[in-house]
Homo-oligomer: 324 residues x 2
């Protein structure tokens, strides 16, 4: 009988993406002051890395058009709270530098179709666009994260060959990205695919210590995939408070792995995160109330009793077999 | 870098519990004809084991009071489709035998609190009640499954010691149960706990081939737990079509692991199930429409576009970082 390895990491760093990835597709524009309070509450709940916003052109992501207004509202957070921001190009980097950002992230694609859809470029053209951004950010002493979308499946291309992902990862690594976040943007990955990709990256010299995983829960697979990633040595996991956000290219809009579901698993596994799950859930409920609909996180619902209409019928009838 | 073992099973048997465990807490009584059609559709989708109903006293579970009417409606199903039924005591067994059931299941508890709440007995009194049932069922040539509730956490007692679960498993095994289903009735388990319990059972001589796992998704952990169970050699997994059902004792009523989410993972892992995921999802949508609310299964929602109001805002706005 086989058992999983016992050597799971003692600690996992959660890269919280709720304020950026979680909110960016919200129709109702959330005021900068509300976003700032959200980020403060997340930090108070123990999250040490919170992706704050994105310096994209306001035309593309109106929700994040207030980056210049938001970022200064975070100045009173403790220095040890990391607040990475997305910079899609040199202009974005300029804006981030002006505000004193210390960490930035670029956003590449593993597939040609998504590079075209999202960046209007080929994969290599996108990499060429990012190279001077990464280079200059490093010259300025910033830490750079490289996001890689569509690492497992692509809505137009289907399953994505592992070798294709490895090639783009190597390019981002060679540019000087300190960390690569492997995105399952449409949520189709399963654990064996995760293991295969991480194994291929390991063989290519990209160690798990420099990798993060970014799973979506579109098909309910995010936590099982996370477990496979932990078993492969990954110690940084992206998640979104309350499960905020989603990818409009996925058939269903079910979104990011909920930070609370992740924390429940990690703490159950005896893995430290520094997160206070009660405070975090309360924060997600607060944000959900602001947005006007319940959190899709199962853990948030279970801990706070904020269910949806889906489940309203249960809870009041006989449990299970009694004697006949 | 550690990788999970490659020796996952080539095949998994899904023990479908939707018609019994999934429906039993529904307030609106589903007519026997609808249940029969549900079961026929599940069989047509490739599910080979479908728990059909329960021979409990109608007073306790009104939804399943129609067992005598339902069971004969399944007579035209192929002989190879297994249709286990729940029998809580000798009277229930009498009723099942009269109808020609070939497989039965008894329902024990790993904790005193739940044994008291659910069976109004101590754990040992419940085992004593089941013993003649199991014995006579076996004499009659029936296969007997033993369910064990609250194997990981208990709403009154908290975490359940592994040794306590092993003790009750050994008792059910000694009675002659051909299979034991380990239930995480309130959905609190995490993968390391699953591994520890299966390891302890292995050491006690209870092999994984005679075990099934029955996870609830209350905290979103069911699939990660299933992965841990597969890695420990388990090849039978309980699930409920569309994620129907739940445990009223859990704080949230989020229910059983959805069969579709399970099948997505298993097929992604290259594990055969015999299930046609499209037909199964269509069946769950049909049942959900009958019940008047969307399926909580993420895979059903993703495959069929039947989201809930939770997610209605995404899907129509800009995806992610475009150039600034």
């Amino acid at each position: 009988m086989a058992f999983p390895r016992e050597d799971l990491p003692p600690q996992v760093r959660i890269h919280e993406v709720g304020p950026r990835d979680g909110l960016q597709n919200e129709k109702a524009v959330v005021p900068a002051e509300v976003k700032a309070e959200f980020i403060h509450r997340l930090a108070a709940a123990g999250l040490g890395t919170i992706e704050a916003t994105s310096f994209v052109h306001p035309k593309w992501v109106p929700q994040l058009a207030d980056a210049e207004r938001l970022y200064p509202l975070l100045a009173d957070l403790p220095q040890e709270v990391r607040l990475p921001v997305l910079v899609p190009n040199e202009r974005g980097l300029d804006r981030a530098l002006e505000l004193g950002a210390r960490e930035v992230a670029v956003f590449a694609s593993a597939t040609e179709s998504f590079a075209r859809a999202n960046l209007n470029r080929t994969v290599d053209e996108a990499l060429a666009m990012f190279e001077p951004v990464v280079c200059r950010a490093r010259d300025e002493g910033l830490t750079v994260r490289g996001y890689l979308s569509m690492c497992f499946g692509d809505p137009w291309e289907g399953p994505v060959p592992v070798a294709q992902v490895v090639r783009v990862c190597r390019a981002l690594d060679a540019m000087g990205c300190a960390e690569l976040s492997l995105g399952d943007t449409i949520g189709v990955a399963t654990p064996g695919h995760v293991t295969r990709l991480l194994s291929a990256l390991h063989e290519a010299g990209l160690l798990a210590s420099g990798l993060a995983v970014h799973f979506h829960d579109t098909y309910g697979q995010a936590l099982a995939n996370t477990l496979a990633a932990l078993q492969a040595g990954v110690t940084t996991v992206d998640a979104s408070a309350g499960g905020l956000g989603g990818c409009p290219y996925a058939q269903s809009a079910t979104g990011n792995l909920a930070t609370e579901d992740l924390v429940w698993m990690l703490h159950g596994l005896g893995i430290e995160t520094g997160v206070d799950l009660g405070r975090l859930s309360a924060t997600s409920v607060w944000m959900a109330e602001w947005l006007g609909r319940p959190s899709p996180s199962r853990t948030v619902r279970a801990l706070t009793g904020t269910g949806s209409a889906d489940h309203e019928s249960a809870g009041s009838t006989a449990p299970s077999p009694k004697e006949s």
